[in-house]
């Protein structure tokens, strides 16, 4: 029998503390949907619209920078509402980490997490591999195609905006695309959609470059190589430079903007190596 990921953490910290950020993320993801749906019932609009563009408290415009770039590429001259909305959203995600969108807000994240969970439980091996740089090619494609066709092409099929919009305004047959993403992750490529393909995630990663909120391997000296953090991390390559980079003179902060700040590594570590911190607190530990 294989050892379950997280056994140590649950034994030492208890169940709740081992899933703290996962639970918080699910709450955040549900809220990011529910606030758009519940408002009409309550009679007051906390959030109106959907993730591509919305109105907060019936006054503050919010707009998705990726969709904005697509309309810009297709030749539309934006009005000031859109520019303000994009500035607010871009500023927010730069502050908390660009891919916080991916792990805390995006409705596709639970779908691909479920696919990963199923693959683990069912022992499905996927041997296909492609470069994680693929998403930048996708990002380029989704910005070049509108320039050629004059149509915001990606938004015709984008599973992220389709799922969020569908759950609020009516899905129709749109769920088939979401199932396709699920099956792709389950059978073709582990972490396939979010980690390799999604151009929206790639865009938010670029926004998060240099963002101040980071995960820090503060107590990396305590690491006893259980590998649980690598197993749960959606972008495992980001961990090593910080966790094992002491000899190379790397600071303890996970620098890569691929990191989604999901906090799974913080929870799963039984000796609490990781914590959220500022990217500027990246000094080497004092030598004993």
């Amino acid at each position: 029998m294989t050892l379950q990921v997280g056994t140590d953490a649950i034994k030492v910290k208890g169940y709740l503390a081992s899933y703290r950020f996962l639970v918080l993320r699910r709450i955040s993801q549900i809220a990011a949907l529910a606030l758009f749906i519940v408002s009409p019932v309550a009679g007051y609009w906390l959030l109106k619209g959907n993730l591509t563009s919305s109105e907060l408290l019936q006054a503050i415009p919010l707009s998705d920078p990726f969709v904005f770039l697509q309309t810009l590429a297709s030749g539309h001259a934006p009005i000031s509402t859109l520019l303000i909305g994009v500035a607010i959203v871009t500023g927010f995600y730069w502050l908390v980490g660009g891919r916080v969108f991916c792990s805390w807000v995006c409705p596709v994240n639970p779908v691909t997490d479920l696919a990963g969970w199923c693959a683990r439980k069912l022992g499905i091996r996927r041997r296909f591999s492609v470069s994680r740089k693929l998403r930048y090619w996708m990002l380029a494609l989704t910005l070049i195609l509108p320039a050629i066709t004059g149509v915001v092409v990606w938004e015709l099929v984008n599973p992220v905006s389709l799922l969020h919009r569908g759950l609020i305004f009516g899905m129709g047959m749109g769920w088939m695309l979401v199932v396709a993403v699920f099956l792709f992750d389950l059978f073709v490529l582990p972490r396939g959609w979010c980690g390799h393909v999604c151009p929206m995630g790639a865009c938010y990663r670029l926004i998060g470059t240099g963002s101040p909120l980071k995960v820090k391997a503060s107590k990396r000296d305590d690491c006893y190589d259980c590998m649980d953090c690598y197993a749960v991390c959606p972008e495992p390559h980001v961990i090593k430079p910080a966790l094992k980079g002491k000899a190379k003179g790397n600071g303890p902060v996970i620098q890569s903007p691929d990191c989604t700040n999901c906090g799974r590594c913080i929870d799963i570590c039984s000796v609490n190596v990781f914590e959220f911190g500022s990217r500027f607190a990246n000094q080497m530990e004092k030598q004993p």
Partner: protein, 256 residues
Amino acid sequence: MSQGNPKQLGKEGRARRQFFADTARGLCGVGAVGVGLGLIATNASSHAPEMLRPPGALPEDDFLAACLRCGLCVRDCPFDTLKLAQITDPVANGTPYFIAREVPCEMCDDIPCVAACPSGALDQALDNIDDARMGLAVLIDQETCLNFLGLRCDVCYDVCPVQEEAITLERERNVRTGHHARFLPTVHSDHCTGCGKCEQGCVLEEAAIKVVPRSLAKGEIGQHYRLGWEEKAANQGESLIPEQLKMPIRRPEGES
């Protein structure tokens, strides 16, 4: 060949080979996706004519470049007229539309859908709903229109919000009976907003008057045409050319 055998490559060589393989695979995938998306995009700009855009919508090509698909216009429509297209609908996925026969546009004075639009896909310059051009009503089937049959239905005329301007009843002798009049509903494109009240109101099983996109409904006279009666009116009733123009006489040869 030493280079052809992966076992003889160093660790770096294998990594490089893997990198090229992964990149090539990725690029092919992206290329295929690009071709597919391109095909979808070319189809996106032609949509079913009964799906009308909200007031102030930019021309369809510009609209598809500008619309964010956020649904704020749908949310602010007080009559639940607007819907967001789903992926199987014959109109670009996620964009707002309405079907006049089901729920027409009520032409709110404050045009809340336009005010809600964050991107400018619905033109903020539209400040008078009478200037909206969502489509154009066309009395598409004269064979079933009750007024054309000689009855006084008049419903399309009665429900029109721009009455006596967008739709008028033109009186004409009823040749069939010989001693009645027919009142023919006649749409004037200068005033019709395309709200669809007439199409919704039409009492037939299938409406005889329908709102269709203006590009489909309108003809266009060639630039070189001159309407003599209009030019005459502009020229103090005088013709633009002298009345007694001498034209050459052309007859078959041999005749005089």
